[in-house]
């Protein structure tokens, strides 16, 4: 692989986020490039989710600077960011298609074929009339991913996308994400299951106590240092 450093899509420097007396992020400095898939790893409470939520504009940083696609205000670029949280961000009482149609409206997409297309892409059936509340956990996760992909965002922020998803579906999802990355998108995945992304992720990022401790291409190295 040649080292042509693409322009960074997300730049953060000395990002600090405090909730009252608790510091969730304690000075994160990093750059994320387009066309890459990053896996963010770390123990519970390491600040992974907070970092992702800050990128998604749901948290305001306490201090430090954050620039996404050259903009400092999230409102200007929200059209280009897709966010998938740990909860499903879907209405339990509506079917998957109905959910996506509603969210498509929010992004100004008034077209059913696009919704059907993403549902197919995550391996579900658009004609399914069951409400999302009755889906299995794995189906919910996939529908949630479809919601994040709906507006074809430049940056994809995923929080634990593979939890409770069976092995087969996970492989499918990883393949889909890798394909998205190959289209020049930036994909950030917070996960506990790093091994699932071995081979797919361009970089592994280890966070500890609100800081990025290590960035590496080789997961093996990270596991050794994490244990030590």
């Amino acid at each position: 692989m040649t080292e042509t450093a693409p322009a960074p899509v997300i730049t953060v420097s000395n990002l600090i986020k405090q909730f009252g007396r608790f510091a969730a992020l304690r000075g994160v400095t990093a750059e994320f490039a387009s066309g890459k898939l990053y896996a963010i790893l770390g123990d519970n409470g390491a600040g992974k989710t907070t970092l992702l939520r800050t990128f998604a504009g749901l948290n305001q940083p306490s201090s430090g600077s954050l620039s996404i696609l050259g903009a400092s205000k999230f409102r200007d670029i929200c059209q280009h960011v897709g966010y998938m949280a740990h909860p499903s961000l879907l209405y339990d009482e509506m079917s998957g298609m109905e959910n996506l149609e509603y969210f498509a409206r929010l992004y100004g997409i008034a077209n059913r074929t696009r919704c059907a297309q993403v549902i197919l892409a995550v391996g579900l059936d658009p004609a399914l009339t069951r409400p999302v509340g009755q889906y299995s956990q794995g189906m919910k996760q996939r529908m949630s991913l479809a919601r994040a992909l709906l507006h074809d965002p430049q940056i994809l922020l995923l929080d634990e996308p593979f939890s409770n998803v069976d092995v087969h579906s996970t492989t499918e999802m990883v393949r889909l994400l890798a394909r998205t990355r190959d289209q020049g998108k930036t994909v950030l995945i917070v996960t506990h299951q790093a091994s699932l992304l071995e081979g797919a992720a361009d970089e592994f990022i280890w966070m500890e106590y609100g800081k990025i401790i290590e960035r590496t291409r080789d997961l093996k190295r990270l596991e050794i240092s994490a244990e030590g």
């Binding site: 998604a56 929200c78 059209q79 966010y83 961000l89 209405y91 509506m94 409206r105 929010l106 992004y107």
Partner: protein, 225 residues
Amino acid sequence: MTPPTGITRATLLKDLRLEWRSKDAINSMLFFSLLVVVVFSFSFDPTAEESRQIAGGLIWVAFLFAAVVALNQTWARELRNQVLDAYRVSPAPANSLFLAKVLGNFIFVIVLEALMTPLFIAFYRLRALGPAWQLLPLAMFGTWALVVNGTFFAAMCLRTRSREIMLPLLLFPISIPALLAMVQATTAILSGESSARFWIVLLSTYDLVFTTVCLLIFETVLNAE
């Protein structure tokens, strides 16, 4: 790009659809106000001529309490699975959401009033001695006043501890003028002793002022953290 009104409509239709499927809010509101009617009838003789004087207050207090049930429900719906975050990361304007929620609650409370009013009339043997048509604009303006502030405060309480208790604590003091206007106007119309016009004008001004201010600061409140 969907225009803001389009998003309001989509959100409103979505809310109505959710309510239609679960019927959480409307059922509990109906039963709640029914309980209020029955309980109040024990505390005084509902058929006495004097009860005409307090019927206006009774009706609106019942609706106010019932509205709180609906108001807590609207945002609870958005908190389940944290769907509100999905709205916040989208480019859709915050005010569209606010208007949709206000309209949704307005519809719920108006439906409740339409269903409950015949019951009140039957139980309390009410009959308007004044101009009865004025009850219609009164109900519209009054309900809007309750609902616009209520929706705003319910959104505010989203991120407080014990949010279901906080809503009435914030909503009731500020609603006192509106409530007073509704009660007095209703009593005036039912007893036919005085004109309700002043109260209806007051209510519409109240609606105008509070709707404007809520729209101005809702985005700040929604994204506050």
